[in-house]
């Protein structure tokens, strides 16, 4: 029963990934002529032909795609037009940096956002609730590049506590992590609160209370599991945005991750790198959605059964 559900979801994710690769390849391939953008303005027609022949760009797009797919399966994303380095190698240097920053900021926002949301739901309409929700709105309404610049002004320029650029130590991580984390925290707290409020008003929670269950028991055993679906969805979506979401912040804090690489590669029109990054961004979204679906299946007995019926 379960297996069928998971299998279906995996197949669907694979199909989406394939569509993604096709789409990215053809859209970029049609709209972007690397020979024109890479070669200097005074390049002759022969230079262009030579350049295209060198990178296999003179062949029909379908054939290029076939070659690209074959290489892709072998983990070969081609070479950078700029310096001829292996794209896979460039990305594998940058990707861990981004995953590290984003992973830490998501963990940071879960650690603070979820308990704050639960607190707000349990103390509905109290001063604490109003304060937490006010802070949450502030957190996710504030553009994070602005917040980042403010942090740099205060903690780096004025107080000299934290470094403003780079990724070498824990101290470097702190500011970008909190900048990204604050806005996530706000949305996690709000989603958690509303999901919890919805469940807490259900009769089985009132019954649990009437039976003498402690508040802890009611929250952890009944309320949280039932409130988990919307919370998992929000967290899953932010994991999907993990790789792409840091573009702005990585540039503000000169964090050497994928986001910064994307900006510099677009600036120099380095097609293979841009192509690979866009595909990775898309794949991470697909993967995150797949994980969310799996979690649903594990959490909700109703989904487990309907999946078996289909």
């Amino acid at each position: 029963m379960h297996l069928k559900y998971f299998l279906m979801k995996t197949l669907r994710a694979l199909l989406t990934s394939l569509l993604l690769v096709v789409f990215v390849f053809f859209v970029l391939g049609i709209t972007w002529d690397p020979a024109q953008s890479m070669l200097p303005d005074d390049a002759t027609e022969e230079d262009m032909v030579e350049f295209r022949a060198m990178w296999g760009l003179d062949k029909p797009l379908i054939e290029q795609f076939w070659v690209y797919c074959k290489n892709f399966v072998h983990g070969d994303f081609g070479q950078s037009y700029k310096d001829g380095r292996d794209v896979f190698e460039i990305i594998s240097q940058r990707l861990p940096k981004t995953v590290w920053l984003m992973g830490m900021s998501i963990i940071f926002s879960i650690i603070f956002g979820l308990p704050l949301g639960i607190y707000a739901a349990l103390h509905r309409n109290s001063f604490g609730d109003r304060f937490v929700m006010g802070a949450a709105v502030f957190g996710f309404s504030m553009p994070n590049f602005f917040l980042g610049i403010m942090f740099i002004l205060l903690f780096s320029m004025k107080l000299h506590w934290l470094p403003s650029a780079g990724s070498d130590t824990w101290l470097h991580l702190l500011m970008p992590m909190i900048t990204i984390g604050l806005s996530r925290m706000g949305s996690y707290a709000r989603y958690t609160r509303s999901a919890m409020l919805n469940v807490l008003s259900k009769q089985y929670c009132i019954t649990a209370k009437a039976k003498g269950a402690s508040r802890k028991r009611m929250v952890y055993l009944h309320a949280l599991p039932n409130a988990a679906i919307p919370i998992v969805t929000v967290i899953g979506t932010s994991i999907g945005h993990m790789v792409g979401g840091g573009v702005v912040i990585e540039n503000v804090f000169a964090w050497p991750g994928i986001g910064r690489l994307l900006v510099t590669s677009v600036a120099v029109r380095d097609l293979p790198v841009v192509q690979a990054i866009v595909i990775i961004l898309g794949l991470s979204m697909v993967l995150a959605n797949l994980l969310v679906d799996f979690t649903y299946g594990l959490l909700d007995p109703r989904i487990r059964v309907t999946a078996g019926d289909k």
Binding site: Y204, I206, K209, K211, G212, A213, L221, P225, P301, V305
Partner: protein, 330 residues
């Protein structure tokens, strides 16, 4: 009042219960307005009794049940359970009396956690109060499933896999497993099909007899109330208008509202159907109650006096109490 009533042990005593909900005002300095859900209700429930509460929707039946269970705190008045005021218990005592009073509701799907198999949910009260060890608990659950006529295979089922009647029996099993003394049922069968209603009602009756349980049974369905209850109170807009033994109430209905309610019960033998008393209009808004008797605006026998003062509940003998000037002033 007869002597037998006094010697019976009182399990619940509701004394002058009021529950007013403050309403949100759209004006900043406007006078605060209140919704008077329960407005001066007193009654006793004796041990072993099948006590019925009837009235139309919005008359405060459910709020009264919540007050008895101490799930809501009264604005005024008090509830005594076995002689102790429930609102003033220490947390430890409060937790202890949770075992003695259990409840079941109308919406059985909402009353069960959709993410937990029903066996675990029946077992939960035992875990909360540390009764038995895991093995014994499971056995107790299987026993109680048998008592409500469900097979052991239901242990691992989830609520959505069960029918309404099965869920109601699960909810009943969850309430019964701690061997309570008082079972409060808030419209327990209104959501069920008529054929299932009969089954569940008979199950209630059987359990009442076998376990010597006290029931507080809330319903708007007079047929069922007549079938199961020993004693009944009729509520209208937050007040008790009539209180009597079940047979007495149906044989000798005094309050015009009760008369209208009872005349609305369809009879199975066409000839015996008495003339139906039709009530016109809606009950007044429980926020701005008019002066005088609350039923006056719909009462077919309303007199000028009914618009001036509010009648009190008066004992007419034979444990029959009524709040109506037409009856009490004779």
């Amino acid at each position: 009042m007869s002597d037998t009533a006094d010697t019976r042990e009182k399990l619940v005593e509701a004394k002058g219960l009021y529950k007013h909900y403050a309403l949100k005002s759209d004006k900043l300095f406007a006078k605060k307005r209140y919704l008077k859900a329960v407005d001066g209700v007193s009654f006793d429930i004796y041990k072993g009794e099948f006590f019925g509460v009837v009235g139309e929707s919005g008359c405060g039946k459910s709020t009264t049940a919540k007050l008895v269970l101490d799930m809501e705190h009264p604005t005024k008045g008090s509830v005594l359970f076995k002689g102790k005021e429930v609102g003033k218990l220490k947390p430890k005592e409060w937790r202890a009396i949770r075992l003695d009073m259990q409840m079941i509701f109308q919406d059985t799907l909402g009353a069960l956690d959709p993410y937990m198999c029903v066996g675990k949910q029946i077992q939960e009260p035992l875990e909360i109060h540390n009764i038995g060890d895991p093995k014994k608990r499971k056995q107790m659950v299987l026993d109680i499933l048998d008592a409500v006529s469900l097979k052991p295979i239901f242990y691992d089922r989830y609520p959505h896999e069960l029918s309404g009647g099965q869920r109601q029996r699960i909810v009943l099993a969850r309430a019964l497993i701690v061997k309570p003394q008082l079972l409060v049922c808030d419209e327990p069968i209104s959501a069920l099909d008529v054929s299932i209603q009969a089954q569940v009602v008979n199950l209630f009756k059987r359990i009442h007899k076998e376990l010597n349980l006290t029931f507080m049974f809330i319903s708007h369905d007079l047929r069922i109330v007549k079938h199961v209850c020993n004693r009944i109170i009729v509520m209208y807009l937050g007040r008790v208008v009539e209180e009597a033994e079940s047979d007495e109430l149906f044989a000798n209905t005094l309050h015009p509202y009760s008369q209208a309610l009872i005349s609305a019960v369809p009879s199975l033998t066409p000839d015996s159907q008495a003339k139906r008393i039709m009530l016109h209009g809606d009950p007044p808004n429980p926020i701005d109650l008019p002066k005088g008797c609350r039923f006056a605006s719909r009462c077919p026998k309303c007199t000028p006096r009914c618009l001036e003062a509010e009648p009190e509940l008066v004992d007419m003998g034979n444990n029959h109490k009524v709040a109506c000037f037409l009856v009490t002033d004779k």
